[in-house]
Subunit: 111 residues, 2 copies
Amino acid sequence: MTGPVEQAAEQLKALGHPVRLSILRRVVQGPVAGTPAGELQSRLDIPASTLSHHLATLADAGLVQVAREGTTLRYRADFGSLRALTDYLWQDCCSGGGASGSDPSSCCGRD
Amino acid sequence: MTGPVEQAAEQLKALGHPVRLSILRRVVQGPVAGTPAGELQSRLDIPASTLSHHLATLADAGLVQVAREGTTLRYRADFGSLRALTDYLWQDCCSGGGASGSDPSSCCGRD
DNA sequence: GTCATATTTCGAAAATTTTAGAATTAAGCC
DNA sequence: GGCTTAATTCTAAAATTTTCGAAATATGAC
């Protein structure tokens, strides 16, 4: 029974690690079908077991999804969750920042 | 000499804790001049020393700023940093999500 | 079934984070 | 100076995270 704050915190925490943020960047920019774990491993140059842990953290937070394809596992971004998270962050960030609404270009007191 | 990924990760990590995320919410929605630490403490109902640590984490990440006013310390959101962070997250989230640009309403494959 | 490839799970050590009581600093008032 | 309020820093224990080699699992090819 975790509320929206706890869920957002979990997801932000999952993103709050250089390796995991790099993983997400690759996955987001990779093919829609998903990026094989092995490719991530060779790109990021970290031990497979370490990578696997980070991928599990991202998956547990609901930020990525997995699908097996033969012997390889493809990881792809869960854009719905990412979208929900950024929306939530915006509400926190912007509701008191001088602008209403959720448009980034009019948010956070810039311009 | 930390790059943009490391900085974003540090800030996301700072937000990745229920208490700190709650602090930020209060601070963002609080007065522009800043919210006194004591008020945050009574609202969140946690020991002062624990709160102080979390506030330091947020300040170190550059997400909030402090100003003394008599005996009280007022914490206010650094909207510039928050804005930069959400921008960065959007680029990661959206560049591969089926939409270009950085408009949240056309991002992450929704609609 | 055996072999090879891809990836995870196990196990454990090192590092970091979280928590909070006690002591300390800072500012204003008498 | 002494007193009070506000908040931080000190100290330390408990919990969590990070890391990665070794072992295990899963799939497909022969």
